[in-house]
């Protein structure tokens, strides 16, 4: 393996006009604070040497690997069943009995909402992802002043959208309304 270093950054050209020496009296040099200690540490090359192989073309290797991974992904999706409804039910369970004054409860709800957002993005359910993101934004922004009623509204909407009880248009309207309500609460608290 050969490493071609990146070209150095362009410095000043010799054609640049030179500044005339200043006629002002020389100033006292400013006292400089000591520069923070900074050490450059070379990375051992053994991993790179093991990790990269040059026995195949880049495009060819990429396409083969991606095709295998896409087939594996299809199997995972077939096996996991209705993962979105399960995650929405989990999030609803965590949010049941939500207490805004309990920091641990808020942290659990925030993690559950964030996790649901990730799952929704994975299974291509943008409305559920928006609602979960909206709930996470509310919990992170309002903290101990989070209105319990708005948390409950998010949970109801998430359940309906994840179970397929709300069609795509209704879910989008719900998501938009929840986002607006959260924005209003956060603006009021600021």
């Amino acid at each position: 393996m050969r490493i071609i270093p990146a070209p150095p950054k362009a410095g000043k050209s010799s054609r640049e006009p030179t500044r005339e020496p200043s006629r002002e009296p020389a100033r006292e040099p400013r006292p400089t604070s000591p520069r923070p200690r900074r050490e450059t540490v070379p990375v051992p090359a053994d991993l790179r040497e093991r990790a990269l192989a040059f026995d195949a073309g880049y495009e060819e290797a990429l396409e083969e690997s991606v095709a295998r991974a896409e087939a594996a992904e299809a199997r995972v999706r077939a096996d996991t069943g209705d993962v979105l409804a399960a995650e929405a039910a989990r999030c609803a369970g965590v949010a049941d009995g939500f207490a805004a004054g309990d920091a641990a409860c808020r942290a659990r709800c925030l993690r559950a909402a964030h996790r649901l957002r990730g799952t929704a993005l994975g299974v291509a359910s943008p409305q559920v992802a928006r609602m979960a993101a909206s709930l996470a934004r509310l919990l992170a922004g309002a903290e101990s002043r989070t209105p319990g009623a708005l948390v409950a509204a998010h949970v109801d909407a998430l359940r309906a959208a994840a179970d397929g009880k709300a069609d795509a248009r209704a879910a989008e309207t719900l998501a938009r309304e929840l986002e607006a309500a959260v924005a209003a609460v956060l603006a009021r608290l600021r």
Binding site: A53, V66, H114, G122, V123
Partner: protein
């Protein structure tokens, strides 16, 4: 050029079961030699201490030790089993401030969900082919992002 997955071991830390299964399935389909997975950062750190993996893939939000704390623990030169280990963060957080926080913690790469296998492969390749040194300051140990990336080519015969 390709990633020689047959030579590489991975630790995957992800609390979302769907994404954990998906990430493991991708890595196994790519041909990874070994993939160990866990739902929390503390267990990921324990797995690294038992037997350091070549690459760590981590979520941000996890119970207990989150992805940022895991990254900081792995970049701790005094205590880490391998402070140079490439760390790829795979998260639903895409806000600029979050990305900057992850970079300051010392991650090698950052991917925002949803992710395709192609994007995952390409990001892994970029991380593994990174030839830049690390930099150590009182508050940071990790890739030196002030330097431009070099080009990796096969050895000439």
């Amino acid at each position: 050029m390709r990633i020689a997955f047959e030579n590489l071991s991975f630790v995957v830390a992800e609390d979302d079961p769907f994404w954990r299964r998906l990430t493991v399935a991708w890595l196994e389909a790519f041909g990874a030699r070994s993939v160990r997975d866990t739902a929390d950062g503390a267990r990921a750190l324990a797995l690294m201490r038992e037997a350091p993996a070549d690459v760590v893939v981590t979520d941000w939000e996890m119970p207990g030790l989150d992805g940022i704390a895991l990254t900081r623990a792995l970049r701790d030169r005094a205590a880490s089993p391998n402070p140079f280990v490439p760390i790829l963060m795979l998260t639903a957080y895409g806000e600029r401030g979050r990305v900057m926080r992850a970079m300051r913690a010392g991650v090698s790469g950052y991917l925002v969900k949803p992710v395709t296998p192609r994007a995952f492969y390409e990001r892994l390749l970029a991380v593994l082919a990174d030839t830049r040194p690390f930099v150590a300051t009182p508050h940071y140990f990790g890739p030196d992002r002030s330097r431009p990336q070099a080009l990796v080519l096969p050895q000439e015969a």
